[in-house]
């Protein structure tokens, strides 16, 4: 039983990592948005992800015991311990990059959280329930923007095409559970995205088509997030994010 608890803790931590790292990237848009309304909307999305990270980490901390808190998970783990999927850590890029990443992730989470609501772990199910509503709002946004920018101008189309190409290879690992996750899937705790890849793909295809864009036929795929094998971007993100916290060991804020 103790071992299962550790595994759920690790699973919750991973989901926290995904949310925190992505939330951090979106928060980098603050005061950089294309207009004020978008600054507000992007702030909302960033807030939702940071909030989600806090729920997952708090649950992981509860399972870890020993007085651990959400901040221990966010601020005191190293690059190699973070297990977020790589797509979340890529730099914010231009607005097209951010929108395409959100589209991929929002469609994904729409399925993921719907499944996680049915988890046999009631805490995870509860977090999923709270988060799903936000994700539906995010998805409306990223879908609408994809269509607007796909159809808008030559430049916006070019940028969206580039973003699709640059991001496509990072989507594959989202559907490849490792041993830990397979074990938790079999216990009805974790979500099995292998089965939902076809749905994800068909949703994305439909939206991309409506946006008069095309799915890349590139065959590359980069993997490694769940093993802590990250791109060079994550360590700089953590360097910045953890700096004040680490410079003052043991302080309260």
């Amino acid at each position: 039983m103790a071992e299962l608890k550790d595994k759920i803790q690790q699973y919750a931590t991973r989901l926290g990592d995904d949310s925190l790292v992505l939330g951090h990237r979106i928060s980098e848009w603050t005061s950089h948005g294309p207009f004020l309304e978008e600054d507000i909307a992007l702030g909302n999305v960033a807030l939702d992800y940071v909030g989600r990270a806090r729920m997952f980490y708090s649950y992981a901390a509860e399972l870890a015991g020993e007085g651990k808190t959400e901040d221990d998970f966010a601020y005191l783990r190293d690059e190699r311990e973070f297990q977020n999927y790589l797509i979340n850590e890529l730099p914010r890029g231009d607005f097209a990059f951010t929108i395409v990443r959100q589209l991929f992730v929002d469609v994904y989470f729409n399925y993921y959280l719907t499944e996680l609501k049915k988890s046999k772990d009631p805490e995870l199910a509860a977090i999923a329930t709270k988060s799903l509503k936000e994700t539906r709002y995010h998805l409306r946004r990223s879908r609408d923007w994809t269509i607007r920018l796909g159809i808008g101008t030559e430049e916006s189309k070019t940028r969206m095409t580039k973003a699709l190409n640059d991001l496509w290879g990072y989507t594959h690992e989202l559907f490849e559970p490792d041993e830990l996750e397979i074990e938790l899937i079999e216990l009805g705790i974790a979500v099995d995205m292998r089965e939902l890849k076809a749905n994800w793909l068909s949703d994305i295809k439909a939206i991309v088509k409506e946006a008069e864009l095309e799915i890349p036929d590139a065959e590359w795929a980069v993997r490694g997030g769940r093993e802590g094998f990250h791109t060079e971007h994550l360590s700089m993100l953590l360097t910045i994010m953890q700096s004040v916290h680490r410079a003052n060991p043991g302080a309260n804020w």
Binding site: L36, G43, G152
Partner: protein
């Protein structure tokens, strides 16, 4: 015509004297309109530019709770900017004109944002002192004579006092924290106290627009009165934190029932406004860069809307 204008003016002033609100479609003197545009847009620009110094620490906030609170706060500022820009638009000035005036330096924003945020403590000090000073002013403006402005002030005040409490809470954590944290709190207080006093503007005797603005109830209290209120309320807050007061000449004046304060360095005030602050150029060039970076998005959105309209038209 002259006499009828004068009639209009009299009726206008009578309405104001009777504490009735002026609404967008009402007649108003050209000068009332332009003063209001200046004041409301400056206020709006301050919210927008104010996102930068605080945004500087979102990625480094030292706990997840503080990160979320700060994100929400900066997002609120964007919202306040929007309310105020909308209020200015009711006076016939478009968003594009507002942005141009900000970027070319024709319009001002609160000079406090020309000071840099150097440490996390500055996020506490800004919330506590800068938002605190802003609230003193904004509370009085809830009764301003222009309807849309007064109503946005009511919404904004509610959120700002929330922000001020959050800023003060950061200061409490620091002041009761490790020696390094306490030093950080003192340092931020020292740097932001005086510029906060300057936020109320020059002494009444030196204030250019005050008399007319008071008469039109665009302003409701004088710079010095508002400043005094702020000075008085801040003393016990500093005491509670156990920090040293930055004003060594501060003294309780039994007779006035207020604190007498040391001299404000108005030369510094003028100097920073005139371009010698650490961040004057940075704030504007950041705004320009973001605006330019976003131009293709705005163009795409317009193009999309036109295309959709055309397609609907040809389908019909």
């Amino acid at each position: 015509m002259n006499s009828s204008l004068s009639d209009l003016e009299q009726a206008f002033q009578a309405k104001i004297d009777a504490e009735q609100k002026i609404e967008p479609k009402d007649w108003m003197p050209a000068k009332y309109r332009s003063n209001l545009v200046r004041q409301v847009s400056q206020h709006g620009h301050s919210e927008v530019i104010g996102m930068q110094p605080e945004g500087n620490w979102i990625t480094r906030a030292p706990s997840l709770r503080r990160k979320a609170v700060l994100l929400a706060k900066v997002q609120d500022e964007a919202g306040h900017g929007l309310y105020l820009y909308s209020a200015t638009e009711t006076l016939g000035t478009s968003r594009a004109e507002l942005i141009e005036a900000l970027q070319t330096g024709k319009a001002k924003y609160a000079s406090i944002f020309n000071y840099p945020t150097q440490t996390w403590g500055d996020i506490g000090a800004i919330g506590w002192l800068v938002d605190g000073a802003a609230i003193c002013n904004q509370v009085s403006l809830q009764r301003t004579s222009y309807g849309p402005y007064a109503r946005s002030m009511i919404r904004i005040c509610k959120e700002e006092s929330f922000h001020q409490r959050q800023g003060y809470q950061i200061m409490i954590e620091l002041a009761k924290g490790t020696p390094a944290q306490k030093a950080m709190a003192q340092d931020s207080l020292n740097r932001f106290y005086w510029p906060s006093l300057m936020m109320f503007g020059p002494h009444d005797s030196d204030s250019a627009h005050s008399a007319q603005s008071m008469k039109w109830k665009i302003k409701r209290e004088t710079n010095d009165d508002l400043r005094q209120k702020f000075i008085d309320q801040t003393v016990p807050q500093i005491e509670y934190l156990g920090l040293e007061h930055p004003d060594k000449d501060l003294k309780w004046n039994e007779e006035r029932g207020h604190y007498d304060n040391g001299e404000i360095d108005w030369e510094e005030f003028t100097s920073v406004i005139n371009g010698n602050g650490h961040c004057n150029r940075q704030r504007i060039s950041h705004h320009v860069a973001a605006h330019e970076e976003g131009s293709w998005v705005r163009e795409a959105q317009n193009a999309y809307n036109k295309k959709m309209k055309a397609r609907r038209a040809s389908a019909a």
